[in-house]
Assembly symmetry: C2
Homo-oligomer: 316 residues x 2
Amino acid sequence: MSVRDRVVLLVGGVGGAKLALGLAHVLPPESLTVIVNTADDFEHLGLHISPDVDTLMYTLAGVANPQFGWGLAGDTFRAMEMVERYGGPTWFNLGDADLGTSLVRTALLRQGRTLTEITRQLSRALGVGPTLLPMSDDAVRTVLETDRGSLGFQEYFVRERWQPVVHRIRFEGCEAAQPSPAVAEALDSATLIVFGPSNPFLSIDPILSIPGIRQRIAGARVPRIAVTPIIAGQAVKGPTAKLMSELGVDISPLGVVQHYRELVDGFILDEADRDLLAPIEALGVKVTARRTLMQTLDNKVDLAIALLDWVEEDQL
Amino acid sequence: MSVRDRVVLLVGGVGGAKLALGLAHVLPPESLTVIVNTADDFEHLGLHISPDVDTLMYTLAGVANPQFGWGLAGDTFRAMEMVERYGGPTWFNLGDADLGTSLVRTALLRQGRTLTEITRQLSRALGVGPTLLPMSDDAVRTVLETDRGSLGFQEYFVRERWQPVVHRIRFEGCEAAQPSPAVAEALDSATLIVFGPSNPFLSIDPILSIPGIRQRIAGARVPRIAVTPIIAGQAVKGPTAKLMSELGVDISPLGVVQHYRELVDGFILDEADRDLLAPIEALGVKVTARRTLMQTLDNKVDLAIALLDWVEEDQL
């Protein structure tokens, strides 16, 4: 049994999708399961939108918009242009082909299918090899308490462009939510659990907020490795650094490790943060410095290889 | 008070939209109200689709697809291509921009707005001058009893391409349906009521199936004129002639006049059917022969002028 046999990756959206793509190039499809945050899901214009699931699905299918990382390559926006003409809400931009995904998902949900079943059907139709699993079939929703009041994730992230100051983050419904049977099974049989370089507070925490997931990870007897979303005091993308500051967390890989506490055995930080190797090691977490910025496909594959090799060689 | 002051036109889709466009070129916007069949409305992919309302709206806004008469000019079909990739239902083709209309309508319906209010908002946004009114805010649904079983309108018309043999047509919900206040007011204050050259059985009958509409038209003391949908034993488009045959109705303007019975005072047939002037007159219905085929905008305007002039001059 190798650590490579059943790798489970926890992710949010664009950042996590990059590592997922790297791992998908290195592992056979049956050896990679990606558990995706669904606390960003929301109803918009009557559609059930699962932004992170779609980002992962499109990325792994090779059809994602290369510029943004989300949405579909070459998509058009005629439907939203009409919505705008009618005075409808346009702050969340959905491409036309992207709408096709949300339409089918929404229709299948109304027919009583689970998000897990639907994600399997859609990702297979797009030719995705690895298994993509929504973290739960139950609704968990990220709510941010901010200086502009209580905001849903997409209101905060897209409509308000993460400008409000965040005091607190809640995951509504998390206590009652169950991991889907597929998520439970993936975690129970994992040979390696990886926390993607996603926002710890907005992408990974929602996954960990589900008791049945958190307990399984806390009790796992396999290596649990986190990849840093922070490089040299900066987030690669998005509000991670700003949020950490607002929540009083050290904007550094050390802050991330402290946040994950007893849930991780190993940590990959960026070469730019070598000075933090010792402080992290002092917390009892194994740590290594690698190139973690994943701008090209080669970067992604290299980081995936480095991660797997490190875990294997160091027998974490 | 002239008959031109408050013209009310009853229509279904493409055929009726042509006469509506003709009248819209001749009458000031405040003098034309179009009451549109909504018994073809259906839920598809979670969207509330109002095909006839949209056809009228797009036609009067000058943005309809000139080739088909329905849908939007120059629209693309990326969303439906994705739906097809996912194995979803593609028998009802919705363009991308057209989807924008259905998304906004569906979202507003879910917010509790009426179809009448929504149609006003959307048609104004597109610059439509005349008043477009869905026949009712209550759901009435056309169901066809056929040799392939009971079919909803769109299943019969689009999915099965009107090939099944029809035994009977029902309008589910018609007995309980109320005309909207705006429809009731338009009929009560009409100076002229025109039955568009739409399918009498599938487009006009659903409107007349609502007791509060039928009674108002039956009791109206203003001219009520029907324009033939049949020319020389043929429908201009669609299943009208086939249906009339299956329902045992004479496929001719005479059959149409007999179908409308006591609801019309006057009838415009095509010049090709001059031989039916006397038989129709014998039924006590005033009748005139005109060019009714509306291929060009000039044809539409000419027919609208001819209709209004005839009613005025003959003091119907």
